[in-house]
């Protein structure tokens, strides 16, 4: 499951994962959100890989959540399996409405305490956040299915490719120990 705010590249992130697995000959279903729902609103994209026939992830069945904005992770916890991994961009943004307060990242992390959460400070890691997160996802969970060059081949430009590699590097430095355990 990819979550975030319309305009952050949520749909593109889902599409890149779908394209990579398509390259490798896996069956994929990816449900996108277009139109009005895309403009600065809460967006999620369902990606299902393998022997599936329907586009939406059943409640409690998502293995992975990538949240490009931290609060949006909370909006999607009903989809998470008990063993789900969460890749959390430690950035929050309040809705563009009067008199709203941003939820603190620490509060989000606290509410996600039942899951394995990888906090990623995208702003500190050079590049485009969605590709950085894909780099982290690759390093943590996708290595056995696809290769780095597959991801690089579905990315449109150099910025995306460099961001992906930065994310990958960041993750192996920050979390590799934890993953091995």
């Amino acid at each position: 499951m990819i979550a975030g705010i319309g305009g952050q590249g949520v749909v593109t992130t889902g599409r890149m994962i779908a394209e990579v697995f398509n390259l490798k000959g896996y069956k994929v279903f990816e449900a996108e959100t277009h139109g009005l729902a895309q403009r600065g609103g809460a967006v999620n994209v369902h990606v299902r890989i393998g022997d599936v026939n329907t586009p939406l992830i059943p409640m409690g069945k998502a293995d992975i959540l990538i949240s490009l904005e931290a609060t949006e992770a909370l909006r999607n916890i009903q989809f998470l399996s008990k063993e789900a991994k969460i890749f959390l961009n430690t950035f929050t943004k309040p809705a563009s409405l009067p008199n709203v307060k941003a939820v603190q990242v620490s509060e989000v992390v606290e509410r996600l305490r039942n899951w394995q959460v990888f906090q990623v400070d995208c702003e500190k890691i050079h590049g485009k956040c969605n590709s950085v997160m894909l780099g982290c996802l690759y390093q943590a969970s996708l290595k056995q299915y696809v290769e780095v060059k597959d991801f690089l081949s579905v990315m449109k430009d150099e910025t995306n490719r460099n961001s992906f590699l930065s994310g990958l590097k960041y993750f192996s430095q920050a979390y590799e120990q934890e993953v091995r355990v």
């Binding site: 490798k24 609103g41 916890i77």
Partner: protein, 605 residues
């Protein structure tokens, strides 16, 4: 490793390619989520004619007219677009078609991007038009070809019904090879197509005869698998969910029936229900198949129980959970698999917002000021469909009603006639040409005192910036041509826009007739497509008093509130449009950087 899973594409592309595999030569549509990408895909093919029409009725008539000449024609729209086109759609079922005519209607159960989730299949029942329902992008492709072939064979329009979770789902699709486009030749047949009563009476008989033929043809669009005393009928995408639930529960004593044509329900289904005692129908929205099935069972004197909407409910899209719950209840199973209840998320809502640089935000901001200046207080804002519908949200609250495309002026008329309170009608440029024109003619003709604000950003922005007739026709000229006496134009980024509004209000009050003000500035997304911004807005924290106006009353997503209540601009989101500069009463916001070449021109066009 598997091979030949097909090309990865969204359902709408699969439908477009299905049309190309059927020899489509003329395609028309009006953008509407989730239907838009079908025409967008077809526009890339130069050997066929494809267009964005000004509304769905015109689009339908374009395709219908082409089919009269023997062409293979396609028209696309979202479910509510069917309402706009329905007058001519109903007639097409009487006359029938030559060539082929396929109507793609894209539904939006759950209302992700729509004002309603009405069930398009009622049009099929009402107009005697077959409705074909795919269940994924691959079947959307294959059934588009089936729809063309059925339409061509019987000489009748056919509806292909898709939805958000088919049209906007990306999956692998194996494509059928494209066919050379089949155009028409000039053909006249007034005794078929000129629906004067004499012709219509004859056409009606023909229509009923074709309907009988269609009933025979669609019998191939029902399939069954498995054996059992109970059956589950899955219609369209509900079939896919039913299959997934049946497989995950390992139910081997259930007969699973796939219905790919919901109107008319293939009568062959009765053969599949011979030994069945109970049947559950899973379908989205209204009980269209359920009702037809019940009727068929009575007609045939069969004896079996039929369940459907009483277990699935009417509203929202089909999901695994809904299918699971309905099937469990139907079979009297203990819910063995515990589903996560939707928890109390307690997350602040995040509705969509107008983009940074959106001219509508400035229009709403200065409209309010202008109305106060012009002495119009407590005014009814009659809204319309477009990105500016977001004006319904705080802090603007400038969309008191928002009913359907082009409804702002008609509703405003009713508001005035019943209250004598002068309303404001707010309508976008694409919507203005879609269905605003007849309502404006009415306002002139019946002398409606109204301020009409046309938000002209030169595109159909909400569905992805398709072009609008406003790129070829000046709205001012159209309004003048319709006899509007007071027409003015302003730039919503310029604070004097409030004076433009105020002057128009004063005129309306004095003359008790409609005045049109055009707020002219391009969609920010269009501008960003043309020119890369090189400026950003910055806040001088010395000057900023923390008055809250920019982030609480203007609410550009790029303006953030600091702990000390002062404002700060997020440099990643700011596009340097400068719209916030005149909003600050303390002149604390300025633009930094060099203005890019072609910047002002891009905002004007």
């Amino acid at each position: 490793m598997q091979v030949s899973l097909g090309r990865l594409m969204i359902g709408n592309e699969a439908i477009a390619y299905g049309a190309l595999a059927s020899g489509v030569s003329v395609a028309a549509g009006y953008p509407g989520t989730p239907s838009t990408e079908i025409i967008e895909t077809l526009l890339r093919f130069k050997d066929i004619y494809a267009e964005w029409s000004s509304n769905e009725k015109v689009a339908f008539e374009t395709a219908f007219g082409a089919s009269m000449m023997g062409a293979r024609a396609l028209v696309t729209m979202k479910h509510v677009g069917m309402n706009v086109a329905s007058d001519s759609i109903m007639s097409s079922s009487y006359s029938g078609v030559n060539g082929a005519l396929v109507i793609v209607s894209a539904s939006d159960p759950g209302m992700w991007s729509s004002q309603s989730e009405q069930d398009t299949r009622h049009y099929g029942l009402m107009g005697m038009i077959p409705v074909i329902e795919p269940h994924d992008p691959q079947s959307a492709h294959d059934l588009t070809v089936e729809a063309f072939s059925l339409s061509h064979k019987v000489g009748h329009p056919v509806i292909l019904l898709t939805n958000t979770r088919i049209s906007h789902v990306r999956a692998q699709v194996n494509l059928i090879p494209f066919q050379k486009p089949v155009y028409g030749s000039l053909t006249k047949n007034p005794f078929k197509f000129s629906l004067v009563p004499e012709v219509s009476r004859k056409d009606r008989e023909e229509q009923l005869r074709r309907w009988e033929r269609i009933k025979g043809e669609v019998n191939r669009m029902v399939e069954s698998k498995g054996e059992g005393k109970v059956a589950i009928v899955g219609v369209g995408i509900s079939f896919a969910y039913a299959k997934e639930v049946v497989e995950s529960l390992g139910l081997d004593n259930v007969k699973l029936i796939k219905v790919s044509c919901s109107v008319p329900l293939p009568e062959r289904i009765k053969d599949m229900l011979n030994d069945v005692e109970q049947v559950l129908v899973l379908e989205e929205l209204d009980p269209i198949v359920e009702t037809q099935l019940k009727s068929l069972i009575v007609d045939e004197g069969m004896s079996l129980k039929v369940k459907g909407k009483s277990l699935t409910g009417y509203t929202g899209e089909m999901t695994y959970e809904r299918a699971y719950e309905a099937i469990s209840k139907f079979l009297g199973l203990e819910p063995g698999l515990r589903l996560n209840e939707s928890p109390d998320l307690n997350v602040p809502s995040r509705p969509p917002a107008m983009c940074p640089g959106c001219p509508h935000r400035s229009s709403f901001f200065f409209l309010k000021k202008g109305l106060t200046l012009g002495g119009l207080n407590n005014v009814f804002f009659s809204g319309d469909i477009g990105c500016y519908s977001l004006g319904v949200l705080p802090p603007f609250n400038e969309q008191d009603s928002l009913i359907s495309m082009g409804s702002s002026l008609g509703i405003a008329n009713g508001v005035y006639r019943s209250t004598k309170s002068i309303p404001v009608a707010i309508i976008g440029d694409s919507t203005f040409f879609h269905t605003g024109l007849p309502a404006l003619a009415n306002a002139v003709y019946n002398k409606l005192p109204v301020l009409v604000l046309v938000l002209d950003n030169r595109s159909t922005a909400m569905t992805g910036q398709q072009p609008s007739p406003s790129t070829s026709i000046e709205i001012e000229s159209a309004a003048k041509g319709l006899g509007v006496k007071y027409v003015d134009v302003g730039d919503p980024f310029d604070p004097s826009f409030s004076k433009v509004v105020a002057r128009a209000v004063e005129w309306v009050k004095k003359n008790l007739s409609p005045a049109v003000v055009v707020a002219k500035r391009a969609c920010a997304l269009e501008v960003l497509d043309k020119v890369k911004p090189t400026q950003v807005a910055v806040v001088d924290s010395e000057r900023c008093t923390g008055c809250t106006i920019c982030y609480d009353h203007f609410t550009c997503p790029a303006i953030l509130k600091l702990e000390n209540k002062k404002a700060v601009i997020n440099q990643n989101e700011c596009i340097g449009c400068g719209a916030c500069v005149p909003v600050c009463p303390y002149k604390a916001i300025t633009l930094e950087g060099e203005k890019p070449e072609g910047w002002d021109e891009a905002w004007r066009n």
